[in-house]
């Protein structure tokens, strides 16, 4: 039974499920560190998925699609940045509305631009290629899953140590954390908090755009309405569970990736799709309950 469940195909589907969540969660982590309450990861990921497919279709190039998705995610993130940072609006209200805006906008543009409803698939949409790394990709079980990935996949893996170095070993990272923890002190030292918050939000938009590209051009090659289906919210939880630390965020994302990958496998073994679909969300909730951490900040924000 165990052998039948645990093999390289399972590891691969776990990694595949993990990458979009990890990319989005790293974006959320940067915002959290800069003291921006970021719950619009879901919407930005959806915009990324849509623009990735649109760009890839128009240019018949997955690379162009990916770059456009990152640009679109960044541009879309400015709504939250301007509303919540510059205008000091309620970040929860704006975040929820931004998610709904993304859903409305992509569902509106899908029939308007491509003349189809629900799902858009076309041979001209170029999917992301996988680039195997010689030797490493031959390692049994984990090799093909990790070292035969797409560009966004490798970027996600590299971003974990890179962001650790950035946050904890560079002056800019220190200032970013300062802005999040003690905005007034940071300002006294000549750091402009608004600039750092904007940069953090735009970075999260770019990462979510990349996550969307991986979702729509890597995991599948199509766009379907509301295809992010809660992954952005799972990423929000991953930031909380991982305590906004790159390693923690990776661990939490891996947990949710595992739940999704396992669900996918169990579905193959005959479990109804309705049950396996619910698995990642239930796993997320159970993980939250088990962690029993005090999510002070979000509780303060919602009940202050």
């Amino acid at each position: 039974m165990f052998e039948q469940l645990f093999d390289s195909a399972l590891v691969e589907s776990v990694v595949r499920a993990l990458i979009p969540i990890l990319l989005a969660a790293l974006g959320g982590m940067i915002c959290d560190r800069a003291g921006v309450f970021q719950i619009s990861l879901e919407g930005m990921m959806l915009v990324g998925a849509f623009t990735a497919v649109a760009g890839s279709y128009l240019a018949t190039s997955a690379t162009v699609g990916t770059v456009i998705a990152m640009a679109a995610g960044s541009a879309f993130s400015l709504v939250l940045a301007y509303g919540a940072v510059s205008r000091q609006g309620d970040p929860i209200v704006i975040g929820v509305a931004v998610n709904l805006l993304a859903l409305g906008l992509t569902s509106f543009l899908l029939p308007q631009l491509f003349g189809v409803r629900g799902v858009f698939q076309d041979p001209r949409v170029d999917g992301l290629n996988r680039f195997p790394i010689p030797f490493l990709s031959d390692i049994p079980i984990v090799g093909p899953a990790i070292f035969r990935s797409t560009i966004p996949g490798y970027l996600a893996m590299l971003a974990v140590p890179a962001l650790w170095v950035f946050l904890f070993r560079t002056p800019i990272g220190l200032r970013l954390r300062g802005v999040g923890e003690r905005p007034v002190s940071a300002e006294t030292l000549g750091v402009n908090p608004t600039q750092y918050k904007y940069a953090a939000v735009v970075a999260s938009g770019m990462l979510c755009g990349l996550a969307g590209a991986q979702l729509a051009l890597g995991n599948v090659v199509q766009f379907s309405e509301n295809m992010s289906s809660g992954r952005g919210w799972i990423a929000v939880v991953a930031v909380m569970l991982g305590r906004a630390h790159p390693a923690g965020v990776l661990g939490a994302s891996a947990l949710f990736g595992a739940a999704e990958g396992l669900g996918f496998r169990l579905q193959g073994n005959g479990l109804p799709v309705q049950i396996t679909d619910a698995l990642p969300y239930v796993a997320t909730l159970v993980a939250l309950a088990l962690a029993r951490k005090r999510f002070k900040r979000i509780l303060e924000l919602t009940a202050a």
Partner: protein, 359 residues
């Protein structure tokens, strides 16, 4: 004449809600124009489709779930509890209510109210999960209530695919509710559901509760300052539980209405696709959780959506533009996008209020 026009234009621009609506309609026009349709044509189809012929009945019908969900969301929101799980509570309640309406072997006089009660109880129980999560385990309701939408959808999908499936159809759906057990239609607006009466009573009830009772006052106090409220002797944890129960109960009742009063079959995904829970959330924000304005804002959003559907049929512009407009209005109000010079004078004159200022 010109003078009064200018004065009223100024008044509109000073009012953040009116200003945001005007600006989002302009933005929507730009989007429609950019995708190749004359926005004036699209908007006139929208108005015609929402208000004339059977459009008016459809608008009033759609108002019921939107205002109902707004009411459901507003009760915890006033206490500072953000329930993003309206959708899940609605589908769980909707399924329970539908099953009661189909299978209870009682006379219709009893079955219909019992179905509504079953929907309320099931929705309330689903909302109890995140409430306990927050009070006992310190899990933020904002996140847990949202995540529970997905298992709710999956659970109901499973129920209507397997144990309660109608074997005569290919889609995942229950059998139809027997004709005698359906919520009757009124003679009003060309046959709008009798649930409208229930909704109005509920609105009045919540309004009186908010303004005239001690717990109504206490929820508002907690929303403004939970620490002060706790200090003042309010059992905040218990409050979190009951506001969530009330919220889920109303959501479940609305879910029941949507099947037992409108579609008569619980079809998987049917209650989710129109986004009633989310429109309701935006209406609650727009109306700042006051029952009267919620009715007005709900009518506006319902008209946008029904008009949007007519626009889709007649000039082939997708109805989701209505969702875009709704979200943009809220973003602008939350971000206080008002003409700057006017905003400051307005703030001095009437004391500035914002979407979040009074939650």
């Amino acid at each position: 004449m010109a003078e009064t026009l200018r004065a009223s234009t100024n008044r509109v621009l000073r009012n953040p809600v009116a200003f945001s609506i005007v600006l989002s309609l302009l933005l929507g026009a730009a989007i429609i124009a950019a995708t190749g349709t004359n926005p004036l044509l699209a908007y006139s189809e929208m108005v015609r489709g929402a208000l004339t012929g059977s459009g008016l009945r459809n608008t009033v019908s759609r108002m019921i779930p939107i205002v109902g969900m707004a009411l459901a969301i507003s009760i915890p929101f006033r206490a500072g509890v953000i329930n993003l799980g309206g959708e899940g509570q609605m589908v769980i309640g909707g399924l329970a209510g539908t099953l009661a309406a189909i299978y209870l072997p009682l006379p219709p006089v009893l079955v219909i109210p019992l179905a509504l009660v079953a929907g309320m109880v099931a929705g309330a129980l689903w909302a109890l999960l995140p409430a306990i999560g927050q009070t006992a385990l310190k899990l933020p309701i904002l996140i847990s209530s949202l995540l529970l939408n997905y298992p709710a959808r999956a659970l109901t999908g499973y129920m209507v695919r397997f144990p309660f499936a109608d074997p005569t159809v290919t889609s995942s759906s229950t059998v139809p509710v027997p004709e005698s057990n359906r919520i009757p239609k009124l003679a009003l607006f060309d046959g709008v559901s009798a649930s409208l009466v229930l909704l109005i009573l509920l609105l009045i009830g919540v309004a009186l509760f908010n303004l005239r009772t001690v717990p109504g006052y206490e929820t508002r106090m907690t929303g403004l300052n939970s620490r002060f409220s706790r200090y003042g002797g309010v059992a905040v944890d218990r409050q979190v539980v009951w506001v969530m129960l009330a919220s889920g109960g109303i959501a479940g009742m609305i879910g029941t209405h949507l099947v037992v009063g409108e579609t008569y079959r619980f079809l998987d995904g049917d209650l989710v696709v129109s986004g009633f829970a989310w429109s309701g959330l935006l209406v609650a924000l727009l109306a700042r959780h006051r029952p009267g304005p919620m009715l007005a804002a709900g009518a506006f959003f319902a008209a946008l959506q029904i008009g949007g559907l007519a626009m889709q049929r007649n000039v082939n512009v997708p109805w989701q533009i209505a969702q875009v407009l709704q979200a943009v209005v809220i973003i602008m109000i939350a971000g206080r996008f008002v003409l700057k010079a006017r905003r400051e004078t307005a703030a001095v004159i009437e004391g500035e209020t914002t979407v979040t200022g009074e939650v």
